[in-house]
């Protein structure tokens, strides 16, 4: 009786999650997959085939954008790690109590503003008549206004900025769990800053590094606003292509195929990253 009751309770608790997974993840993906394998042959005439996927491989613009998006996302992830690691280390190991909470909150505060507004913030700083350009002219470094927006560096800055929190939080958590005595012991045994970082701190923080990288990579790959706003017309991003297929060109078939390719790409790169760092998904995200 009690067992049946607890089972019923479990089902009831699981229902919202199951409904969410089914209605918002599984059903749309099945639908999208079906759309992606229907090739248009005439008005309202479709045949099943891989034609949409073939378009991707035969048109250099598409797979160039695809490769570019992947490469830029990896670079953004790496940069976020390089910038975020010292920040996380400082928060986790070198501060205590109130200062720690304050610094942690300061990482969080920008996220109270919507991504759109934050991106506009960067545009105000970087545009031709913006603060950077004016300031550099004022101190005499530049003789005329310079456009800092609409290039890959601007995209990179935007991506790193947007993802910083998602790197810092898991890093702070794992670094917090590193007992100071390990660092002291390594120092006592003759280690120096570099060897302790390499042999003690990074191996310990690996699960945090990998889970942070996965999240940041996924966010960058799937980001739409930042690359479009900061990159301008020349800087193509794969999500931008998907958007234009669906919304501008009403070509849902090709858009769906692109969506699946993006899913495959992100899964493949995350898998490769896990293999390279010898971590498993349960060790990192499942913690």
């Amino acid at each position: 009786m009690t067992q049946a009751q607890s089972r019923l309770g479990l089902y009831l608790l699981m229902t919202p999650l199951m409904l969410w997974l089914l209605l918002l993840i599984i059903v749309p993906h099945i639908g999208m997959f079906l759309v992606s394998i229907s090739v248009k042959t005439g008005v309202r005439q479709y045949v099943t085939g891989l034609g949409n996927y073939m378009v991707f491989f035969t048109e250099p613009l598409y797979w160039n954008t695809f490769a570019r998006t992947a490469f830029m996302s990896i670079a953004a992830t790496f940069l976020t790690l390089v910038v975020g690691f010292p920040v996380a280390y400082y928060i986790a190991k070198l501060t205590r109590g109130r200062t720690k909470t304050t610094l942690f909150l300061m990482c969080l505060i920008p996220f109270w503003v919507s991504e759109l507004v934050r991106t506009f913030g960067w545009m105000i700083l970087l545009r031709e008549t913006g603060i950077f350009s004016s300031f550099l002219q004022y101190i005499g470094v530049l003789s005329g206004p310079v456009e800092f927006l609409y290039n890959d560096a601007a995209i990179m800055i935007g991506l790193v900025y947007t993802s910083m929190l998602f790197m810092v939080v898991p890093l702070v958590t794992t670094l917090d769990s590193l007992d100071d005595s390990y660092i002291e012991a390594a120092y006592d045994l003759g280690g120096n800053g570099i060897s302790i970082l390499r042999e003690i701190i990074i191996p310990h923080a690996m699960p945090g590094i990998v889970s942070g990288c996965i999240v940041v990579f996924m966010l960058s790959l799937g980001n739409y606003l930042t690359p479009i706003l900061l990159g301008g017309k020349d800087s193509l991003w794969f999500t931008g292509l998907i958007y234009s297929q669906f919304i501008t060109r009403f070509n849902w078939e090709l858009g769906s195929a692109f969506g699946f390719l993006l899913l495959g790409l992100s899964s493949a790169i995350v898998w490769a990253g896990l293999k390279l760092s010898r971590q498993s998904l349960t060790d990192t995200v499942g913690r």
Binding site: D179, E184, A185, D188, L189, G190, G191, E199, I200
Partner: protein, 372 residues
């Protein structure tokens, strides 16, 4: 470098070492020397500054003033990774991200020793601590005692001049702790390295050490062998801290040389000795009598001419095998006393409420000026 050979008789020497934290002096004017190959313990209650002192020796904290020498060389301003000392941490701090071989070889790798040489030396030192062939195992696969030995091996492979141990037995269960005491002592004499061991557990210090320093409120109260501390404590704190003791607060009634007669607050008369301070009539004193120094008898004339003779009523029996005690109330004054039961079988049938004679020698009744 700056010192002559005469100073190098000590592996470790502290001269007027001080450590100030904001508005608080954790270590006060500590001076001592540890000769080569000594097992030196620093014993004190928690918060007495012993950990701060050890961390200064290791180099994790800078001394506020004073000098610290290892093999005659001043260590002031030398970072921990350049000091010829190694430390076994309280929770051992074995690196969980490495196997045992990598753990033990860590220090040698930092020194740039060739790989084959590291493997050889790691295997040798593991064999010396009694764990040959465990190199490829993970830390989590070891028992508490084995971890302890790996932690010591990891330090000893570097052949330090001084090995520091920060209460490494604290986390072990009682049985293993008893075992590791003996093992640590054996390892120390085998390696013939100077060990500096800090603990709050007096039995660890008494069993293992050649020399013990008793530390209280940042100062060394007394430095000596275990026997000296136990039989001839110099201060009231040492008398109360090392071993067990019945403590009385009393007023001096008469003094002749170092022999004194005192009366406790409860009115019990005591005859004792004052080994350190010269006492005078009317002085307040703290008196210590060890439970095991008190003799028990069913008849008064069994004691002969013992100086302190009283009768007591048994209030409670704390049976703990060989280490059993009775709590009794002295009949005349009503003062409480803790007395060890000799395990000769004579007092096996002692019961609550029994009347018994207690006697102890004046030489076992040590008096110290109160408030000192």
């Amino acid at each position: 470098m700056t010192q002559t050979d005469a100073d190098a008789q000590f592996d470790l020497e502290c001269r007027k070492l001080n450590k100030d934290f904001s508005g608080f002096r954790a270590v006060k004017d500590v001076s001592f020397g540890v000769p080569k190959g000594t097992f030196f313990s620093i014993l004190g209650p928690s918060g007495c500054g012993k950990t701060t002192l050890l961390r200064m020796i290791a180099g994790f904290q800078e001394a506020s003033s004073g000098d610290l020498l290892i093999k005659g060389n001043s260590m002031i301003g030398v970072p921990p990774n350049k000091r010829p000392v190694s430390m076994v941490f309280q929770h051992l701090a074995l690196f969980p991200m490495m196997d045992i071989e990598a753990n033990v070889g860590f220090g040698l790798r930092q020194r740039g020793v060739p790989r084959e040489e590291i493997a050889k030396r790691v295997e040798t030192v593991l064999a010396r601590v009694g764990l040959p062939g465990v190199g490829s195992r993970q830390i989590s696969q070891l028992s508490g005692g084995q971890k302890q030995r790996v932690a010591i091996a990891r330090c000893m492979v570097l052949e330090p001049d001084v090995l520091l141990l920060d209460e490494p037995l604290g986390a072990l269960d009682l049985k293993l702790r008893e075992h590791m005491k003996i093992e640590l002592k054996t390892l120390q004499s085998e390696f013939n390295t100077t060990f500096v061991y800090i603990t709050h557990d007096q039995s660890e210090a008494l069993v293992m050490s050649d020399q013990i320093a008793v530390m209280n409120h940042g100062e060394f109260e007394q430095v000596g062998s275990a026997r000296e501390l136990y039989y001839a404590p110099n201060t009231a704190f040492v008398a109360g801290f090392v071993g067990e003791a019945n403590k009385f607060t009393a007023t001096v009634d008469a003094a002749f040389g170092d022999a004194v007669t005192l009366v406790t607050q409860d009115g019990m008369e005591l005859k004792g000795i004052s080994p350190v301070a010269k006492m005078q009539k009317g002085d307040k004193a703290e008196v210590f009598v060890r439970p095991e120094a008190v003799r028990l008898a069913t008849e008064a004339d069994k004691f002969g001419g013992i100086e302190n003779l009283n009768t007591g009523i048994v209030e409670n029996i704390l049976f703990n095998g060989a280490n059993s005690h009775i709590i009794l109330r002295e009949e005349k004054s009503g003062g409480e006393m803790n007395v060890a039961i000799p395990q000769t079988g004579e007092f096996r049938d002692l019961n609550k409420g029994d009347k018994i004679f207690i006697g102890w020698e004046a030489a076992q009744t040590r008096c110290y000026a109160a408030g000192a």
